[in-house]
């Protein structure tokens, strides 16, 4: 019988190794799997490559792992925010590497990773410093960059509801990077507010089919009306 539920976030991340590549969902605090991030901070795996859209928007996101010296490389689109100081300091010391990627290219590289597409061309970033050193090619008279897929060893994602097989639904803009990161890791761990019986989620409403989720952790929903992103 399929059982993907782990008793705690700490248990779900316990086998993470130094040097792993980790995808972390969320857009700032919205849809951020903060319990999994906290568990990883406790677990202590180091030398991580972390892929996440925003770094520094909230204190309980990837910023916590940076402050904890667990991260050697960041791939993101928006490394700016009230909690980016430790990132800036480590960049200046040269103890962390930063790769800034346009948000759509970041999403597409992750989608490609999940979809078995090793590389694709995009017009985004051509003629800019983010395109420097990348292979280019013209299509329809327009310059494009060759971009490579991103695949994670682990993905931490957040959803509102799951069933035992790992089917997931989200709430509103909580989706953001979560459904796409779910497809692109060897082990996707979903932090959810509710686990319901098989068959209780309408098959037409499932956003992330069960095949993409390896582990589930149930956590408390954040308090009603508490906006996590404004600290």
């Amino acid at each position: 019988m399929i059982e993907k539920k782990f008793e705690s976030a700490v248990q779900a991340v316990s086998d993470m190794q130094d040097g792993a590549t980790l995808l972390v969902g969320g857009f700032g605090g919205s849809g951020l799997p903060s319990h999994l991030v906290a568990a990883l901070a406790e677990q202590g795996a180091k030398d991580l490559t972390v892929v996440s859209n925003n770094i520094g928007a909230v204190s309980d996101g990837v910023a916590a792992l940076i402050s904890n010296n667990q991260v050697s490389k960041i791939i993101c689109s928006f490394p700016v925010g009230p909690h980016a100081d430790d990132l800036v300091e480590r960049l200046q010391k040269g103890t962390i590497e930063l790769e800034i990627v346009p948000q759509g290219t970041l999403a597409e590289r992750i989608r490609a990773g999940g979809a078995g597409i090793p590389a694709f061309y995009t017009p985004t970033g051509a003629h800019t410093e983010l395109g420097e050193g990348k292979e280019t090619r013209e299509f329809n008279g327009r310059l494009h960059l060759l971009e490579q897929a991103i695949v994670g060893d682990y993905a931490f994602i957040k959803a509102s509801k799951a069933d035992r097989w790992g089917n997931l639904v989200y709430r509103k803009t909580m989706r953001n990077f979560n459904p796409v990161m779910a497809t692109a890791a060897k082990i996707t761990i979903a932090e959810v507010n509710e686990i319901v019986k098989i068959g209780e989620i309408d098959p037409e409403e499932i956003v992330t089919p069960s095949v993409f989720v390896q582990r589930l952790v149930q956590v408390e929903a954040h308090e009603e009306g508490k906006v996590l992103v404004h600290e």
Partner: protein, 223 residues
């Protein structure tokens, strides 16, 4: 000079209203973080404009009433928002497929600099350690029209409309129209063309605060 200049012409709400009047019924429009979000408040009655937020929704509505904020419902600036009836949610991959695939009728964005060729610089200050690219590069290459919504000069009074951008580029040759407190300027194959002047602003004044050559070709007064 700066504050004096920025006080000239349209106020930002007036400019938002001016931009809103150019959006057509049924358009799908992305509003950049900051000033451009003002535009949503000035859509004329009877027009249906559907706003896109790149973090994954179509049908961005007004700010929620105090106490009604939902942490799972935010815009690209991570501020609490609402969804209008007919709105929808989708993932980042789908949101940027929409953007890059040319499905948005317009993106209304801010700018550090814009060149006479419509090159845009908006994501990074020169020599900054960090840039904040977010969705700016995708929106500028992907949207059918890119409109800038900005003060005509910097707070220090420096020209933002220039011959060549000295700041890091967001995209080349992507801007279609520039809305500032002083004027509406079209980016054409023939260079920058002032198509409208704010009340009590002369063409000469606009040219004086612009570091690229301008032409004057006023559009017929809109009904």
């Amino acid at each position: 000079m700066s504050n004096e200049q920025q006080a000239m012409g349209w106020t930002m709400p007036e400019l938002a209203s001016r931009v809103a009047s150019d959006l057509e019924d049924g358009w799908f429009v992305n509003l950049g973080i900051g000033l451009p979000t003002l535009v949503a408040d000035y859509i004329p009655e009877g027009k249906e404009i559907i706003f896109h937020s790149e973090n994954g929704l179509l049908g961005l509505g007004p700010k929620p009433a105090p106490g009604e904020e939902d942490p799972d419902l935010v815009n690209a600036g991570k501020e609490p928002i609402t969804l209008v009836p007919g709105g929808s949610y989708f993932s980042q991959a789908d949101s940027f497929a929409m953007i890059r695939g040319g499905h948005l009728d317009a993106a209304i964005l801010g700018a550090f600099q814009v060149s006479q060729f419509g090159d845009l610089a908006s994501w990074k200050l020169p020599n900054a350690t960090l840039g904040r690219v977010g969705g700016a590069m995708d929106l500028t290459v992907g949207s059918k029209r890119v409109f800038l919504f900005m003060q005509h000069t910097t707070k220090k009074g420096e020209a933002k409309i220039v011959e060549e951008c000295s700041y890091p580029l967001t995209a080349k040759n992507c801007v279609d129209r520039i809305y500032t407190n002083l004027a509406v300027i079209a980016v054409t194959e023939d260079g920058l063309v002032v198509t409208e002047l704010a009340p009590n602003v002369t063409f000469e004044y606009v040219q004086e605060h612009t570091a690229a050559p301008l032409k004057l070709r006023l559009a017929t007064v809109r009904g």
